[in-house]
Amino acid sequence: MTTVVPTRRRGRRGVLGSAGLYFATAVCALLFLVPFYLIVRNALSTDAEITGENWQWFPSTVQWGNVTELFDDPTVPFGRSLGNSAVVGILHTVGTLLVCSLAGYGLARIPYRHANKIFYAVLVTLMVPAAVTFVPSFVLVSSLGWVSSMQGLIVPGLFSGFTCFLFRQYFLGFPKELEEAARVDGLGYWGAYWRIVVPNSLNFFAAIATITFISGWNAFLWPLVIGQDQEAWTVQVALSSYMTNQTVNFHLIFMATAVSILPLVLVFLFLQRWLVQGVAQTGIKG
């Protein structure tokens, strides 16, 4: 019924207007895709083609050999950094979800005298973004001896006040009746949480997991500070090192970029539903 109103006014002007709209949108979309085109073109070309006298839109022969050359390159341990990023990304996501969802549920549902005060102590940390306190965090982590280590990369990032806050808000809106039914069946908080609450919240968990994984994979400042040895580089630190290297191999640099983006493009294509949900959840409350 409501959709009738805008369509009724469409005359010839409406058709022209909508053609204009599609034209404008398509131009914007092309501009947004240019950087992706550049990655693919440069990654599959030779350096001679990239730096050549005339602009070449496509490589004359697609250089798939660039992939193996990238992983065989001894100057930057790219394969290793890719593995590090995968481990960090997955453990960061699993850990954050576990720790923050439990805390969020506790704060939302389990009655305790000082729960409010504790919640305020969590809220206060939201005022200070983690990036701003990287010097203090580095001081602490280095005195624990965690520089250039996996735990140094992962553990300090697990305790996100913001994620805990999101889970608390979500659990406040979770239907109480379901939990009460579980209680009647003799389950405690722990049992009700794992058997009733979590299985009924998988959508929300998936949305937060997607967002958390992306931010973990793309994080740069903290991995840069912690990854002082090449062994502990994540893929972002490796990419960054290409930019300051003495020798510039364009095709390798762009192949590295392409490989580093690929996992997330796959996440985007296949998990977009949860991603959009996650953005809406985290963004609005932000």
Binding site: T25, V99, R113, I118, P129, V135, L158, M243
Partner: protein, 314 residues
């Protein structure tokens, strides 16, 4: 509130009383790991760094020479640090309104599409998959490469324009164009999603009523219906953009490596604390100053703009 069972506000049936008694332990089992981590990795570092900021702490994090506010004096009279705050201000003054306008514009366009809507939404959203490092690399090595085969220089060359050293020369400050466009490309799609969600929540009745009242579609309805209805989201987006700009590090660090210009606060702090000097005292003082500044901003925005208000409107 006391834990005694006879609180009048809560209905005290025997079953809930039992639940309350066992619940203290449960509460700590659920929240304990998180709270311990929060204390160790958030509260202790901030406290430690507040303490360090009063000491001379070069190359050490357990100093013994108390120097009062000297580190603060050093940072606040240090042209590099205050300059970085100016850089941030300029950056925020450009990036916040531009991203707001572009993401709103994209959302309005995508919202009006009748077919291929999901496709275009995905295209604009896709750059969010890129990291700032990857995007900086594309921008520095290809799009805004200062050499002849850089994309922009190639395009300008077709019109007979000389090559421009986008990043290597601060006069004229072309590097701002590079810095702003890279963040714009990365972020616009993210905020577009927020605006799209908000646009979908505007009741169509409002547009019908406006049409009956003689408002012409286009600017009039946008100005008097759409924009006011998006107020809450707009406010949230502007605040998110501001906080994100405050934390800008990745693209400045990578695009302007080895330069002395265009350093926002976090980059400056990085070189102070983790550069050659390893001055943790001054670095900590800088971190404390930045923390206080952002707390002030957060409190002010809460006061003047009010998330509570925003939620009522939604």
């Amino acid at each position: 509130m006391s834990s005694t069972p006879s609180t009048p506000t809560t209905p005290s049936t025997s079953s809930t009383r039992k639940g309350v008694r066992g619940s203290t332990l449960s509460f700590w089992i659920f929240t304990g790991p998180f709270l311990v981590g929060l204390v160790v990795f958030v509260y202790i570092p901030i406290g430690w760094s507040a303490w360090l900021s009063f000491f001379e702490a070069r190359y050490t994090v357990t100093p013994d020479k108390f120097i009062g506010f000297d580190n603060y004096k050093l940072m606040l009279t240090n042209g590099d640090f205050t300059g970085s705050l100016v850089t941030f201000t300029v950056f925020a003054a450009i990036i916040v309104p531009v991203t707001w306008a572009l993401s709103l514009g994209l959302a309005l366009m995508v919202h009006r599409l009748r077919f291929m809507k999901a496709f275009f939404r995905s295209v604009f959203f896709l750059p969010t998959a890129c990291s700032f490092v990857a995007a900086s690399l594309i921008w520095k090595m290809s799009v805004f490469s200062g050499v002849r085969f850089g994309m922009m220089n190639t395009v300008l060359g077709w019109f007979g324009v000389e090559n421009i050293a986008w990043l290597a020369d601060p006069n004229p400050p072309w590097y701002w164009l590079v810095i702003v466009t890279v963040r714009l490309w990365l972020q616009a799609g993210f905020y577009m999603i927020l605006f799209l969600a908000a646009l979908q929540n505007i009741p169509p009745v409002l547009y019908e009523a406006a049409a009956i009242d003689g408002a012409r579609p286009g600017w009039q309805t946008f100005r008097h219906i759409t924009l006011p209805q998006l107020r809450a989201t707009s406010t949230a987006v502007i605040l998110l953009l501001l906080v994100a700009a405050y934390q800008a590090f990745d693209e400045f660090f990578n695009l302007l490596a080895k330069t002395t210009w265009g350093r926002p606060p976090l980059v400056e702090l990085y070189y102070t604390a983790l550069g050659d000097d390893q001055d943790y005292g001054a670095g900590s003082a800088g971190a404390v100053i930045l923390t206080l500044l952002i707390c002030m901003v957060t409190l002010l925005q809460g006061r003047f703009l009010g998330f509570g208000k925003g939620e009522d409107a939604r």
